[in-house]
């Protein structure tokens, strides 16, 4: 059964100018897919709109068997659709523990404290100073906190927007190691990435978004050939300017 189904989805910041121009795809339960594409293709807009952060301008989104089109973010979070934005994804003015506490409100009361402790076990970097302001964390640690926050509620589906952005190769490896563990535990992952190699190492399927439309969809094995991907990224663009 598919965990998330998107049909004819349009989204954007101005009702007259959709950025995502009718995209359809489905993600199976337990699958990990990568959303790839050049800068400005609309990848962030797509998953922000699925997460209720940007206006949906048409189409449908189903989470499991429920129609979740146009629901607001907090409702989606409650229903188990986790989302980690590309930037500004933690509250820097709150402590590390407070960041986790806010998210823990979605968990049944008796489990809150233990879930927070579990996250601290999973991300030891955060554990050493829970009362420090999250703004004091390094870039990599911030991504850890953002991931911990999203995982705390045990979401069946988790969407991450460029979790590796701005991290050193060593940290990227660390982040992806964590994601692999998360995926292994059964979470369905939707991963927007610029770091194609890292993304392909994790995902079994990829969507390539160019100019707000799906330019390619298929198993990642096809895409390990760099040239193929390069042509996909550029093809539409060149075609668009020519036409």
């Amino acid at each position: 059964m598919s965990a998330l189904t998107v049909t004819g989805f349009k989204a954007g910041y101005d009702p007259d100018l959709p950025i995502v121009k009718g995209v359809s795809f489905a993600v199976d339960t337990g699958e990990a897919i990568a959303v790839l594409g050049p800068n400005g293709a609309g990848k962030s807009t797509l998953i922000k709109a699925i997460a209720g952060q940007v206006a949906c301008l048409g189409g449908r989104v189903m989470l499991g068997g429920d129609d979740i089109t146009g629901l607001r973010s907090h409702d989606l979070a409650r229903r188990g659709l986790g989302f980690v934005p590309q930037t500004d994804n933690i509250f820097t003015g709150l402590t590390i523990r407070e960041n986790l506490q806010i998210a823990s409100e979605l968990v049944a009361k008796p489990q809150r404290a233990s879930r927070i402790e579990q996250m601290f076990e999973m991300f030891p970097d955060l554990k050493s100073r829970p009362s420090e302001l999250a703004g004091a964390l390094s870039g990599g640690q911030r991504q850890m906190l953002a991931a911990a926050r999203a995982l705390l509620t045990d979401p069946p589906v988790l969407m991450l927007d460029e979790p590796s952005a701005g991290l050193s190769p060593k940290l990227v490896a660390q982040v992806f190691e964590t994601l692999r563990r998360i995926h292994a535990s059964g979470v369905t992952l939707i991963l927007v990435e610029q770091n194609v190699r890292a993304a392909l190492s994790l995902a079994s399927r990829a969507l390539v978004l160019v100019d707000g439309e799906l330019a390619h969809e298929g198993p990642t094995d096809d895409l390990h050939d760099g040239d193929r991907l390069g042509r996909l990224f550029l093809g539409r663009r060149a075609g668009a300017t020519a036409g």
Partner: protein
């Protein structure tokens, strides 16, 4: 210099501080400078007056209308206050539903919402004038004698009560905001509303809580001012600049900041009245505002922009 200015300043500053807390909360969570906030004080005072007038008649009939010694007011006022608070809250939630919420939903710029609040403030105030006339009104006609409280200062029991009440409310609110889930959610929304949604916070709920706190404190502040001075349709408008100055001086979003800012403005006003003259009192808040903007625009406890 007469030490009496200190106690006078603290009394006036209590009202300003309570009002400024509501203003600073709406400012940081709804992200606009709300010009109707002063009018919430005035509406709170009038609504409470109406209820307490009604109750006063009732209580007098039951033989319980006499002042509650040592204070100047009878049971009517303390019983009416919660009702006044409740109606003031309904007023602000209603205004948010028909005006501010609509503009927010449309994604209007903050400055358009500020302008709408300016228009609404004029309408609200004039409506008060129409309903109650511009004649000043009073919660009580009893006269109170200021008593010596040491260090050469005098204050009436009513005045001391308002200071105590303010202190209590501020401590309570500070605990709510720093220690409870609701307070955490409020701080989260004030930092980044859309991220708060991602974390699972119902932002609309937080906005409602903010209006409820702001309106409740505004009503209490208005009643305090009405009790100590008088009730006029313009009482809230005249307090608006001190409220803004206090909120900015304290740092937008900071509850202790707004309170301390309010006390500083109250003290500055009291000393100005004593040293320069009462006719310049209303200019003090402006001078403080300009000084803050020149020296430390983020305010005492604000995070640098």
């Amino acid at each position: 210099m007469n030490p009496q200015a200190i106690i006078d300043g603290l009394i006036a500053g209590s009202t300003i501080g309570l009002g400024a807390i509501g203003l600073t909360l709406t400012y940081s969570i709804l992200r606009f400078a709300n010009f109707t906030h002063g009018d919430f004080l005035a509406w709170g005072a009038y609504l409470t007056l109406t209820v307490s007038g009604f109750l006063g008649g009732l209580l007098a009939g039951l033989g319980a209308g006499a002042p509650l010694a040592p204070f100047s007011f009878g049971w009517g006022l303390p019983v009416a206050l919660p009702a006044g608070v409740a109606v003031t809250i309904l007023l602000t939630l209603g205004l948010d539903r028909v005006l501010f919420g609509q503009l927010r939903q449309r994604g209007a710029d903050a400055i358009i919402i500020v302008m709408a609040s300016f228009g609404a403030s004029m309408a609200l105030r004039s409506l008060l004038e129409f309903i109650y006339s511009s004649e000043p009104q009073y919660f009580t006609r009893e006269l109170q004698i200021a008593q010596k409280i040491g260090l050469g200062m005098r204050a009436t029991p009513d005045q001391l009560l308002t200071i105590a009440m303010t202190a209590l409310l501020v401590v309570l609110l500070h605990i709510v905001v720093t220690r409870t889930p609701t307070g955490r959610a409020m701080r989260a929304v004030s930092e980044n509303p859309s991220l708060a949604g991602v974390y699972g916070v119902d932002v609309d709920h937080v906005i409602r809580v903010t209006w409820i706190i702001g309106a409740g404190l505004a009503c209490v502040a208005g009643v305090m001012s009405g009790l100590l001075v008088q009730i006029r349709p313009y009482m809230g408008f005249d307090l608006l600049l001190p409220l803004f100055a206090a909120a900015i001086l304290g740092g937008i979003g900071s509850i202790p900041g707004a309170m301390i800012g309010g006390l500083i403005i109250g003290l500055a006003e009291a000393f100005t009245v004593q040293l320069i003259g009462a006719e310049w009192r209303a200019a003090v808040a402006f001078v403080v505002l300009v000084l803050v903007l020149l020296v430390r625009p983020a305010g005492l406890f604000g995070r640098a922009a």
